[in-house]
Amino acid sequence: MADISANFLGVRSPNPFWLASAPPTDKKINVLRAFEAGWGGVVWKTLGSQVKNVSSRYSAVNYNGSKIMGFNNIELISDRPLELNLREIKECIKLFPDRAMIVSLMADNTREKWHELIAQVEDTGAHGLELNFGCPHGMTERGMGAVVGQDPEIARLVVEWVMEKATIPVITKLTPNVHSVVPTGKASVEAGTNALSLINTIQSVTGIDLDTFVPNPYVAGKSVFGGYCGPAVKPIALKMLATISQDPVTARVPISGIGGVSTWKDAVEFMLLGATTVQVCTAVMKHGFRIVEDLCEGLNNWMDEKGFNTINDFIGKSVPHLTQWEELDINYHIVANIDQNKCIHCGLCYIACEDGSHQSINLQYGNPYNTYTIKEEECVGCNLCKLICPVDDCITMVEQRKGVDYVNWKEFQERGMPLNDH
C-alpha cells in the first residue's frame, strides 16, 4: 500500500483530498461528516464581510442526458455570523486533529480589517489561511474577490498586509478571469505568500430559459454572471495550473489544485502538473462526501501499480512534457487504423473525417452495414476518428514517421522541407 498522505507546508493530511471553500465546508455538521467520510482536509467557506445571499443560487449545464457537466453559482461568502464560524472551526479541529483545517478569508479592503480577521482565525488553531482573490460575483462590486486577483499590484499589496500578520501558512487562491494567472501568482509569491491555489470559478452564463428569456439562475426575473465550475472547467484549470508550474517564480511554492476534480484520475492529473493537494467541491455537491472513498482507493491502487511510494514521487512529473509548439517533432507521424473485427459500422469516424477533417476514410457501401477503411496516404493523424469511435481500441493510431530524425518547425523552415500538398 502506497502512502497517500500529504504534507503541504507542514500542514499534514492523511490524503491529498481537501474540500474546497464552498457550501460543503460552511459549518460544523458538514465538516464533521466530511471528516468522518475520510476527507483529508477542508478549506472552510470564506469568512469576511457581512453578506446576504439570494435565492436561487445555482444553475447547471447538462450534456447528452448527463446532469451537471458544468455548475454555476451566484452564492457569496459565508453569510453566517463570524463568531459562530470561528467557534465551530475550533471544535472541528479538536475533534479531528489529524485533518487539515484551512480557513478562506476575504476581508474588507483595509490592512486593519485583514489583520483583525487573521488574528481571530489564528485563534481557532486553524492550520492555514487561503486568501479568496477569486470570487467572481457579488464581492467584486465591493472591491473584493476577483477584483483583487485581477490586478497583480492590488494582490501584491493585500498579500503584503496578510504576511505582516499571519503566523500560519498562507495560500493565495487565484482567479481564472484573467488572460493569464501568472502575473498575479508571481506578485503574490513575491509579496510572500507561502503557496498558491487555483482555479476559482470562471464567470459564466450557463443558459437562458427559452420561455421567459431570463438567464439562469433565476432571481425574481433577473440573473447575474455566476462562477462556473465542475467537470467542464477541468481542462482550463489544468492549463492554468501548468503555467504556474512552468514559471520559475510561481513554481517556488506548493500548489493546491482546484477545478472540476471528480475522480482520482482527475486528481492525479492535477498532481502530475504540480499540485500537492487537490480541492473538490462540485462532485461532492452532486454526490456527497462518500466519493472520497474511491478517490483514495483509486489513487492508492494506481500508485501501487506505478510503484510510487508517496505522492511526492509523481507530483509535477508531467510538467516537463509540456513544451512550446515550435519544439514539436514534425517528422513524427501517425495514421489511423480501423480494426475490422471490432468495427460496428456506425460510420461516425467516416462522417467526422469527411465533414470535419481530412476526407481520409473510404466508405464501401453495404446493406445494412457499410465497411470503412483508412486512406493511409491522406490521413494526417489528427486523432478525430479515434476520439469519436464508440468502441475501445477499434481505431488505433499507428506510428509511421516521415523521417528518422527530430525536426522542429525552425529547422523545418531552415531546411526548406516541403509543405503538405493536400
Binding site: G65, I344, H345, C346, G347, P368, Y369, N370, P390
Partner: protein, 447 residues
C-alpha cells in the same frame, strides 16, 4: 369441450388486451434511451426500414426536446409511423440492425422512441403538414388501409383531391381489423386515421365495396387516376377432409371479430389448434388464449428455423402459455355431430431447400392426433382473386402485377400493398403507397 364466449371478467379482458409494449413513462426515461443512440452515419436502422425513416435524426430531435420536429421526421417517411411503432416486427427491421447488436448490447428501443414522438403528435393534434394549392386533379383510392392512407396523404399534400372507398365502417385496414388488439387498440386506430386525414383533401367513403357498390370502370371514368390498395382476403384453405366442420375457423375472421366487436362476444374453444406460424397465426393463438381458451397449440409443418414469425413473436406466444408442435402438417379433421373434435397431423421431416430457399417438409408416414374443439387456420392468406379477374388487370393468382412504382398494366391504374405482395407488413404497405403516389403525381401532371 365447448366453444363459447364471455369466459372472463371485464377486468380480465382489460388486462389481457392491454398494451403489450407500454410507452415511456416520462420525458426523462425517453431521453435516457434517446441519448444512448450513437447517431450513426448512413445508419443501418434507416436502411432496414422499408419506409427509410431517418431514425438517428428523429432520435436526436427527441434529445433536443424538438419532439415536433421528431414526429415530422417520422411522418414524412411513414405517415403511419405511430401505428408502425406498435406493430412493426422491429427485431427483424430497424432494431435488428442497430449497431449495438454488434457490441452484444441491447439495441436502441427505436419503436418505443418512435411511439414517444408520434403519440404526442396524435394527442396534441400537431399540424405538421400543409397542403399545396389545389391542382384540380382527383384520384380515387380503393381501401383505407396502410397503402391507401399513405398514398392519399402524399397526394393530398401535393394538392390532389383524394376520395377513398372503404368497404368497412372504419379506416386503417389491417391495422384496425387484422392485428392483435394488445398491439393496437381500436381507439388508437381510429385516432391515427383521423390524424392522417386531418390534413384535408381526403374524403373516405365508408361501407363502399369494390364490385358491390362501384366498379373499377366507374372510378376510371370519374377520376384522373385510381390506386388499388384493398389488401388480401381470408386464410388459405387447408384442403383436408373435415375442413367444413363447425369449429374450424379462419384466423383473419377470428381476429376481425375480436377487433370489430366486444371481447366477451367472441367465441373461443377450450382446446384450440392454430395452423401456421406466421404473425397472423401468433396473433390468433395469443388472442385465443387471452380470450380464455384453456389450451392453445400452434401446429407448424416445418421447424423454428423456417418459421415466418420473429423470435419475439414466438416468445409472446410461449409466454401466453401456447404450446407449439413443430414438423406437423394437418391431414384430417374428425368430428362428432358436425363439430370438430380431433385434428390429425402428419409428422414431417425436412428435405432439400425449395424455391423460397426454405427446406421443404415431407411426410414421415406417422401421424399424431390432437383433441380439439376449435381449429384456427392461419397458413397464409388468399388474394381477392374475384376482384381482379375479368378487369383486364394483369395478375398472378389474384395478386395484381405492377411495376416497381405501382403502375399496373392499365394506364392510370396503380396498386400496392397486400393486394400486390400477397401479404406483408404494414410498413411495406405504407412504402408501396408512397411509391404509388409518386407515380400517380407524375402521371396526372402529364394529363
Amino acid at each position: 369441450m365447448t366453444i363459447k364466449s364471455n369466459r372472463l371478467t371485464a377486468e380480465e379482458y382489460e388486462q389481457n388486451f392491454s398494451d403489450i409494449h407500454p410507452p415511456f413513462d416520462s420525458r426523462e426515461s425517453a431521453l435516457v434511451e434517446a441519448n444512448r443512440c450513437l447517431f450513426c452515419y448512413d445508419a443501418p436502422c434507416t436502411k432496414s426500414c422499408p419506409t427509410g425513416i431517418d431514425i438517428p435524426k428523429f432520435i436526436k430531435q427527441i434529445t433536443t426536446d424538438n419532439v415536433k420536429g421528431s414526429a415530422h421526421t417520422i411522418f414524412v417517411s411513414n405517415i403511419m409511423g405511430a401505428g408502425c411503432a406498435r406493430v412493426c416486427p422491429v427485431e427483424k427491421l430497424c432494431e435488428g440492425s442497430c449497431v449495438y447488436n454488434l457490441l452484444e448490447e441491447t439495441p436502441i428501443s427505436i419503436a418505443r422512441l418512435q411511439r414517444y414522438a408520434t403519440e404526442q403528435a396524435l394527442e396534441k393534434k400537431w399540424k405538421l403538414f400543409e397542403r399545396k394549392p389545389t391542382t384540380g386533379k382527383r384520384v380515387a383510392i380503393v381501401g383505407a388501409g396502410p397503402a391507401g392512407l399513405s398514398c392519399a396523404h402524399v397526394l393530398s399534400r401535393e394538392g390532389i383531391a383524394v376520395t377513398i372507398y372503404e368497404k368497412e365502417s372504419k379506416g386503417g385496414g389491417l391495422m384496425t381489423y387484422g392485428i392483435a388488439a394488445y398491439k393496437v387498440t381500436p381507439e388508437f386506430c381510429e385516432a391515427e386515421v383521423k390524424y392522417i386525414t386531418s390534413l384535408g383533401g381526403i374524403t373516405i367513403e365508408y361501407n363502399q365495396e369494390l364490385g358491390v357498390h362501384f366498379t373499377l370502370a366507374d372510378l376510371q371514368q370519374n377520376y384522373d387516376a385510381v390506386y388499388l390498395g384493398f389488401g388480401v382476403g381470408l386464410a388459405r384453405q387447408l384442403n383436408i377432409p373435415g375442413e367444413e366442420l363447425e369449429g374450424v375457423v379462419d384466423a383473419i375472421k377470428f381476429i376481425y371479430d375480436i377487433r370489430a366487436g366486444a371481447y366477451d362476444q367472441v367465441p373461443v374453444g377450450d382446446r384450440v389448434a392454430v395452423i401456421g406460424m406466421g404473425m397472423t397465426a401468433i396473433d390468433a393463438a395469443t388472442q385465443a388464449k387471452r380470450l380464455g381458451a384453456k389450451e392453445v397449440i400452434l401446429v407448424y409443418r416445418r421447424t423454428q428455423e423456417e418459421m415466418p414469425c420473429t423470435e419475439v413473436e414466438l416468445d409472446i406466444a410461449k409466454l401466453d402459455g401456447c404450446r407449439i408442435i413443430w414438423l406437423a402438417a394437418p391431414a384430417m379433421i374428425k368430428g362428432e355431430h358436425g363439430h370438430a373434435t380431433q385434428l390429425v397431423c402428419n409428422l414431417m421431416q425436412l428435405g432439400e431447400p425449395d424455391a423460397s430457399g426454405r427446406r421443404s417438409p415431407f411426410e414421415m408416414g406417422e401421424t399424431c392426433t390432437l383433441e380439439v374443439d376449435m381449429i384456427i387456420k392461419a397458413a397464409g392468406q388468399m388474394p381477392f382473386e374475384a376482384l381482379v379477374s375479368g378487369k383486364q388487370l394483369q395478375h398472378t393468382h389474384g395478386k395484381i402485377v405492377t411495376q416497381m412504382n405501382g403502375a399496373t398494366n392499365i394506364p392510370g391504374v396503380y396498386a400496392g400493398g397486400d393486394c400486390v405482395n400477397g401479404g406483408k407488413e404494414v410498413v411495406d404497405a405504407v412504402q408501396a403507397g408512397k411509391l404509388g403516389a409518386a407515380a400517380i403525381l407524375e402521371y396526372v401532371a402529364g394529363l
